[in-house]
Amino acid sequence: MANYRVNIWRQDQTEKQGRFEQYRVEDISEDMSFLEMLDVLNEKLISDDLVPVAFDHDCREGICGACGLVINGIPHGKECGTTTCQLYMRHFTADTEITIEPFRAQAFPLIKDLMVDRSSLDRVLQSGGYVSVHTGAAADANNVLIAKHKADDAFTAATCIGCGACVAVCRNASGMLFVAAKTSQLALLPQGQPERLERSLSMVKQMQDEGFGNCSNHYECEAACPKNIPASYIAQLNRDFLNASMTSKEYESQTHCKSLEE
């Protein structure tokens, strides 16, 4: 059983001023998860008639992507390939100080305390992160064969849980790893080919409009990614984007029509 001093960012609402507050948590077992430690703190705050700390969490098995705290300067803490909910207190030395901050990014407005609004990620995917197949239109699943290594590679990209740690850790708050994971998954599969180039254009455009920063090839994103998605997918996205910018016909066809009208 260990005790810790935790510094937590408290902020009532988006518009209000925030501040750090320090709390003491006691009798924390090493088998507790980080969020269970916060549960203990919250129970104590409630019993002291205080408002508990708000943070996003749901599945607590590392797959839903809801949780995400910056713990001592690193999103999801320093354990490799781990979400906040799967981080255990055995990794923290007793009687130390733990600083917990929300994800910071222009594209992630703060809602309350440690909770941020990541709907910008949803909007990026809405702009093209899918195959536009109509329900009922598909042919038999084994009609199109996919090499095992390609399917595996696409799967690795597809394991993104949309937590936003890549954005949170990036000095530029860039969403490139997030976008690249989705475009690469579909670029690696035959089903994703017809819309491949337009997809990379529209998703990058949406990312830009949401106020994410640009990629400086620092690769902090792959180090912070709880699913260990490698930054090589960003190169894949760069390639597709370049290709699309050079070969996509969208603008030409529009101007062509206009000139006919004239």
Partner: protein, 229 residues
């Protein structure tokens, strides 16, 4: 045109232009370094090389291209830097880097130092504002004595030191640039990115050593100032 504009201001397009302009400047640097080595063959060699360059019909086209590339590189860098600052309006209280290199972290600063250095360098040796010795090449035609200018300049320890430091900063800047270049242009494959990981530092070390060798050689007296007869 609209499409080109969209491309240039897009997050990836800006980076691609940065990478391509940087790559061309890097190629120029390689050429520049090789040319510089002529100094070790003596005054005659360097000066005749300089004479050949200055009388090349491509000189002004080349200079304009380099200037354009440099301006593009710098302007986009500043633009990206400001955008990136804006993307994180509230800073973290605790910052911890995982695999971020010092070189990557300081690109904008090393870039600023290099930009200042380039201005000084052009003023010093191209325009000859700082100290000029000229010599007569043919009847009635004068040219700057590049060799003497270089040697005279580097005899002053403060100038030599400034060059050495600036050249090391260029090496630092290149450390992140070369690897980044391939990633931005979409080349990142396990089959060859390890090769880049080894080759890039080698290129940088050689290039930096070549550049630095000249001020050091002058400073330690290996390249004497010869008065033209």
């Amino acid at each position: 045109m609209q499409k080109l504009k969209d491309f240039i201001v897009s997050p990836i397009g800006s980076k691609v232009i940065m990478a391509l302009s940087g790559a061309m400047i890097l190629l120029f640097l390689v050429g520049h370094a090789l040319g510089n080595l002529l100094i070790f063959r003596g005054q005659e060699s360097l000066n005749s090389y300089a004479y050949w360059l200055q009388n090349s019909p491509l000189l002004w086209g080349f200079r304009a291209t380099m200037l354009l590339l440099l301006m593009l590189h710098v302007m986009l860098a500043v633009r990206l830097y400001l955008q990136n600052k804006k993307a994180r309006p509230v800073a973290y209280a605790v910052n911890k880097d995982m695999q971020l290199t010092f070189s990557a972290k300081t690109m904008i600063f090393s870039g600023a130092i290099i930009f200042a250095f380039i201005i000084f360098h052009i003023a010093h040796l191209t325009l000859g504002w700082i100290s000029t010795t000229s010599l007569e090449v043919e009847a009635g035609q004068q040219m700057i004595d590049v060799y003497s200018n270089v040697v005279a300049g580097f005899k002053l320890p403060e100038i030599a030191l400034f060059y050495v430091i600036s050249l090391l900063v260029i090496g630092l800047h290149l450390h992140h640039s070369i690897k980044s270049l391939f990633q931005t242009l979409g080349f990142h494959h396990e089959n060859f990115h390890q090769m880049i990981d080894y080759l890039a530092p080698a290129v940088i070390v050689i290039l930096t050593l070549v550049f630095i060798s000249i001020p050091l050689a002058v400073l330690f007296g290996y390249l004497p100032l010869v008065v033209q007869p």
